[in-house]
């Protein structure tokens, strides 16, 4: 019989001795080279963390390979980061360079520290979810390949934190990212009346729609969608597979930028939509990688030292950003939802 409610494995069992000894007594850190953090304790002890990018979706063989490396260079200790990178925890400075060589040899990617782009927080996509408007892992792979030179160096103006969510549920919590890649459906669900009649709970289905776009159609023993009210959120599809929300022709990607969650300097902020749609050009989404690269290069060329994407855009003004980025501005980018009013320019101050 399984033990219920025993909780997670105890973290204390997972800490390397150097962490136990210096627990809560770290004094400062340095970044001796991209991908390597050096944390120094009050005791003078130094811990090197070597950060390695992963596709997040990994096989057990990958994990076992990683364990082999950790055993050899890290006394068997390692961790993952909040962005799904691995950190090899090296307490013996002598093992640092050998480890780096080993990683190089294995083709693993060291980077993601300091002023770099780190792994993209992302989601399931076509691999495992039922409402995706795009794939997750594939887009991430294409974008990270393209931005690789900014992963293994630290030559950006500031950290670049990206997120991807394959539908509006935003499991990638992309809504506060420097650059957010969001899968969007753009057409109302097609109703499979057969499937509905076969056993969908119509009241629950009606209730699932946040905009009240679905109403019962008793005659037909099915439902009707008011297409003017639908915002393609896919909530109804989660309720019933009869509400086919996927649409290969029209599904795709929106780009939002300028969000952050740290409180450093400026308060956390939401990402804002700058491109309402890019096509799902699998397998490598060239329109998406190109659009992102353009924004990143513009930011590099124009931001002040240390300025996150959003801090830069807010300083120069969004109207200026659209000009500089040569991105078309359209009514789709103007908010028309609950908190729209705060986005309207209630000021005579603006740039042309």
């Amino acid at each position: 019989m399984a033990i219920l409610d025993q909780g997670p494995p105890h973290y204390k069992k997972m800490l390397p001795p150097i962490v136990e000894e210096n627990y809560g007594k770290w004094k400062y850190h340095e970044i001796p080279r991209p991908g390597v953090l050096k944390h120094v304790g009050e005791s003078g002890a130094a811990l090197y963390s070597v950060r390695v990018g992963t596709p997040r979706l990994v096989s057990i063989d990958f994990i076992r390979d990683v364990c082999v490396i950790a055993d050899e260079y890290c006394d068997g200790y390692l961790r993952w980061t909040t962005r799904n990178n691995i950190e090899f925890l090296v307490s013996d400075e002598a093992k640092l360079n050998p480890l780096l060589e080993k990683l190089e040899a294995e083709g693993l990617s060291v980077g993601g520290t300091g002023r770099s782009v780190s792994n993209i927080v992302h989601t399931q996509g076509w691999v495992h979810c039922h409402t995706p408007a795009t794939d997750a892992s594939g887009v991430v792979k294409a974008v990270m390949d393209d931005l690789y030179e900014y992963f293994n160096t630290m030559k950006l103006p500031a950290k670049l934190k990206m997120g991807l969510a394959c539908c509006l549920n935003m499991c990638g919590a992309a809504h506060c990212s420097d650059i957010a890649i969001v899968g969007v459906h753009r057409t109302p669900p097609r109703i499979n009346h057969e499937v509905i009649r076969k056993g969908t709970e119509i009241p629950s289905l009606v209730a699932s729609c946040p905009t009240g776009a679905i109403r019962p159609d008793p005659k037909n023993k099915s439902v009707i969608v008011n297409e003017d009210k639908c915002m393609y959120c896919g909530n109804c599809y989660t309720m019933s597979p009869a509400m086919e929300i996927y649409d290969p022709k029209n599904d795709g990607i929106a780009i939002l930028i300028g969000g952050k969650t740290s409180n450093a300097r400026t308060s956390p902020s939401f990402s804002r939509m700058v491109i309402p749609f890019l096509p799902n050009t699998a397998p490598r989404w060239p329109e998406t990688t190109e659009a992102i690269r353009k924004i990143v290069e513009l930011w590099i060329a124009n931001a002040n030292d240390g300025e996150r994407v959003g801090e830069w855009v807010e300083r120069i003004g969004w109207e200026r950003f659209f000009t500089m980025a040569e991105l078309p501005f359209s009514d789709m980018l103007i908010d028309d939802y609950i908190f729209s009013r705060e986005t309207f320019r209630t000021s005579a101050q603006f740039k042309y």
Partner: protein
């Protein structure tokens, strides 16, 4: 009512600021209504509540507004203010007067009314405070004779107003006085005959200092601005440099940090494309800095006070529009017609246009009035992905499975 005792109000004759109680007392010398007003007011002061009632619609032939009906709640006790209506008169642009005109106002009002006025009402009218129903038409007739007309009330265009502008201000970027006069005249029907979901106001300010507070107080705010770069007179800069700390008082407070003062050469320079024309530097150094040459106005929509959906400030819908008397403000008038038409069609009763736009979304509004969206309309783009797609847009952007554009 014979009681002339007003101990509470008398307290308000003390102090240095001019006293409205003194004014009511002066009017009371000639007007029984004003005398009774004093009594009613003293009672309000004692009881801490008003004694006036809304009531039946009053007005003049041919118009649907311009007079506010008001009745005291105890007509038997205060017969002279049983009816005590307010007449709103359109003021001259910028509230400029010659004394002859003012005396005319006084004379007619003395004949029929309480002798009390507000110079001016909060919307801008000359407010004549307190008359009987039977006198409304004669009052209007005589004022009309003398060249006056009624202002707005009800669900109509309200009396527009404007700042002093070119009449006495070096900052004016368009002719606010002429614009207000001309445009008020253009929309006489809209002003005198209520026909919309609710009231609609226009205020004209010559520059971004917005001395009419148009952004907060009117559904349409017309705020003067320029399209090119502000102009700097370096000799005058040097004069100011002798008196003020230009870096601290001007450059450091520029919201876009686009001004640089070179302490050595004593020259001030501007990064023109960064300037958001906030007026600050010009305000501090009017002798040395002036607006650019290509002048006009920004048009903002939606301002109103608190009830129902909260107070709104107007937001940009036309970043730059020429406002020239020469072409009779044609572009502006045309825009206003499209705006009101859209609102008239879509607005609910007692819904100000800002609320209608908020409810239906800027997209519908912009489409409805045929104005193209520009980033100047927003501080920042939407944070949610709830874009509405119509078939046209889909057709332009979808992808076939073979990867070809549809």
């Amino acid at each position: 009512m014979t009681e002339k005792n007003t101990p509470l109000l008398d307290e308000l004759e003390k102090g240095k600021w001019p006293s409205f109680v003194t004014e009511i007392k002066r009017a009371a010398v000639k007007s029984e209504a004003a005398g009774e007003l004093l009594q009613v007011l003293e009672r309000s002061y004692k009881e801490r509540r008003g004694h006036w009632k809304h009531g039946g619609i009053v007005g003049v032939r041919g118009y649907g507004g311009g007079v506010i009906g008001r009745y005291v709640d105890e007509p038997q006790t205060y017969p002279n203010v049983a009816e005590f209506h307010t007449v709103r008169l359109l003021q001259p642009s910028g509230w400029f007067y010659n004394t002859k005109t003012l005396r005319t106002v006084c004379d007619i009002w003395e004949k029929y009314g309480s002798g009390l006025t507000n110079m001016h009402g909060s919307t801008g009218d000359i407010i004549l405070l307190g008359c009987k129903t039977e006198h409304i038409q004669p009052i209007f007739d005589e004022f009309s004779e003398a060249g006056f007309d009624l202002g707005g009330s009800g669900s109509c265009l309200r009396t527009p107003n404007c700042c002093v502008g070119p009449g006495r201000c070096e900052h004016a970027c368009y002719d606010t006085l002429e614009a207000c006069y001309n445009i008020t005249n253009e929309f006489m029907d809209e002003l005198h005959r209520p026909m919309w979901p609710y009231k609609s106001k226009i205020k004209f300010s010559g520059c971004a200092n917005d001395c009419t507070s148009s952004i907060a107080r009117s559904d349409c705010s017309v705020i003067g601005t320029w399209r090119d770069t502000l102009r700097i007179d370096q000799d005058a800069v040097k004069e100011y440099a002798a008196k003020i700390d230009i870096k601290a008082a001007v450059c450091d407070k520029c919201p876009t940090s686009c001004l640089t003062f070179n302490a050595e050469t004593q020259e001030l320079s501007v990064k023109g494309e960064d300037c958001t024309r906030c007026m600050h530097c010009i305000n501090v150094m009017p002798k040395a800095i002036q607006p650019g040459k290509e002048k006009g106005a920004t048009i903002l929509i939606g301002g109103k006070s608190t009830i129902v959906q909260s107070a709104f400030m107007s937001w940009v819908i036309i970043p730059f529009m020429k406002m020239e008397a020469e072409d009779d403000f044609a572009e502006f008038k045309d825009l206003m017609r499209r705006i009101w038409e859209w609102w008239d069609e879509h607005g609910k009763s007692r819904e100000r246009i800002g609320e209608t736009i908020y409810r239906l979304g800027m997209t519908k509004f912009l489409n409805g009035i045929d104005v193209p969206p520009v980033p100047q309309m927003v501080f920042r783009p939407r944070a949610n992905p709830y874009v509405f797609w119509n078939q046209d847009d889909l057709d332009r952007s979808g992808t076939a499975l073979d990867g070809s554009k549809l």
